[in-house]
Symmetry: C2
Subunit: 219 residues, 2 copies
DNA sequence: TTCGCAATTAACCGATTGGTTCAAAGCGAT
DNA sequence: ATCGCTTTGAACCAATCGGTTAATTGCGAA
């Protein structure tokens, strides 16, 4: 009963049976999976609710409507991915090794975050209107381009990289290959067989992508 | 009244006011646009009907249900694109020139067939289940890989191409870059600015893609 | 002219869906 | 004990949506 630490602003609700933050987090987690699986119009509020510990009522109580929920899912997904871009410590590596590491990391990272890839696909179907509406997504764009630029500058100084490389274009190429690998795996496998989707195929492909990118910047 | 040319099998209905083939074609055209714009679950039967010269009833009369219509739209889209892959006459060019032409053609082709790209995106959201269910799509896969293989062989014989190039992987890389360019333009522009989406940006990008691909096969 | 099938229209329907109403319960503060 | 705000549950609802019923017309064939 000793009122130890009772800040007015920060609500101390760890002891509550009612735990709104946990409920919201639960909804967001399930909603991300459902939106990633079925798209904005394809996902069903009832289905999200069923897979949650709470009820459909709470979805609209906390998130207003379906589209707002979708927007929050998107924002959280971008936030998670950015936080997940752990420090690669590329500064200590020579430019070629740094670039190799960055590319293969991106390749694996996309592969491991399929839900995020699918959300971005869905968002592109919507012509990016929801990411455009989100200031937080637009504001904190990933440090990938700056990292690249730093690597490129070092490589140019050493005379091993071409001097006419556009960092944004290079980032675009890396993203494109790593993204496409995940986004189009289904149709590509159906039409050309799953040679590339197998584990060995993916290893060979990653090597190829790394090689192709590195090769494109060497003098 | 002289019953001139009245084949039993091939119905001569050019003179009819009722023209089922035209009605079906009209529905398919609008349906393709609507599915490409809003996805399978997002597209509305009523909206498709409204933009057609006919009624909603006719959609279900000719196409059974929404999913069947979607499947026919997909098949027609793949058919159109394959027919549109006009003869590039690459045989007469030296291997490098042939490859350059193939890549830049693919780049432009994807750019010009946005609806098709979007249908493929949507299909990947559905994990390719509808293309997998279509024998006609699986059967006639594009001649792109064979064309590539032919170019690669000539290049290898001349000693200017590496001997360890996997044609399918090379096709994958070309597809990936050209596809991503269209599919992810929206989100990429929102986050990194539209430098790449501008006309000049696209020209520079195409040159870069061609260069990157060619560079990746040279010894 | 009439028969019979294909094509077409208008009205209709049941199920689903996103979203709400309303009242009750949890809980900190006093 | 009780006030007042937040959180929750159950039932409910209006609109939307894919799909259908049933009756009508167009038209070639006999």
């Amino acid at each position: 009963m000793t009122a130890e630490a009772k800040p007015k602003a920060s609500r101390q609700r760890a002891t509550w049976k009612q735990d709104p933050e946990a409920v919201k987090a639960d909804i967001l987690r399930v909603a991300r999976e459902e939106f990633a699986a079925h798209g904005l119009s394809g996902a069903r509020a009832q289905e999200i609710a069923s897979r949650t510990k709470t009820s459909k009522r709470m979805i609209f109580y906390y998130f207003k409507d379906k589209e707002s929920l979708y927007r929050e899912v998107l924002e959280q997904a971008y936030r998670d991915v950015r936080n997940g871009e752990k420090a690669l410590e590329l500064e200590n590596l020579d430019p070629v090794a740094a670039l190799r590491k960055l590319v293969s990391y991106t390749f694996d990272h996309h592969r491991q975050n399929e839900d995020f890839i699918r959300l971005v696909m869905i968002e592109n179907i919507h012509r990016g209107s929801h990411v455009a509406a989100s200031e937080t997504i637009k504001a904190g764009n990933s440090p990938a381009v700056e990292q690249l630029q730093e690597i490129l500058e070092r490589g140019m100084q050493q005379g091993i990289f071409r001097s006419d490389i556009n960092p944004l274009q290079l980032h675009w190429k890396i993203s494109g290959l790593c993204f496409f690998n995940v986004s189009n795996e289904s149709t590509f496998s159906v039409i050309f067989g799953n040679e590339i989707a197998t584990q060995e195929g993916q290893i060979a492909l990653r090597d190829d992508v790394v090689h192709t990118i590195v090769n494109s910047v060497l003098v």
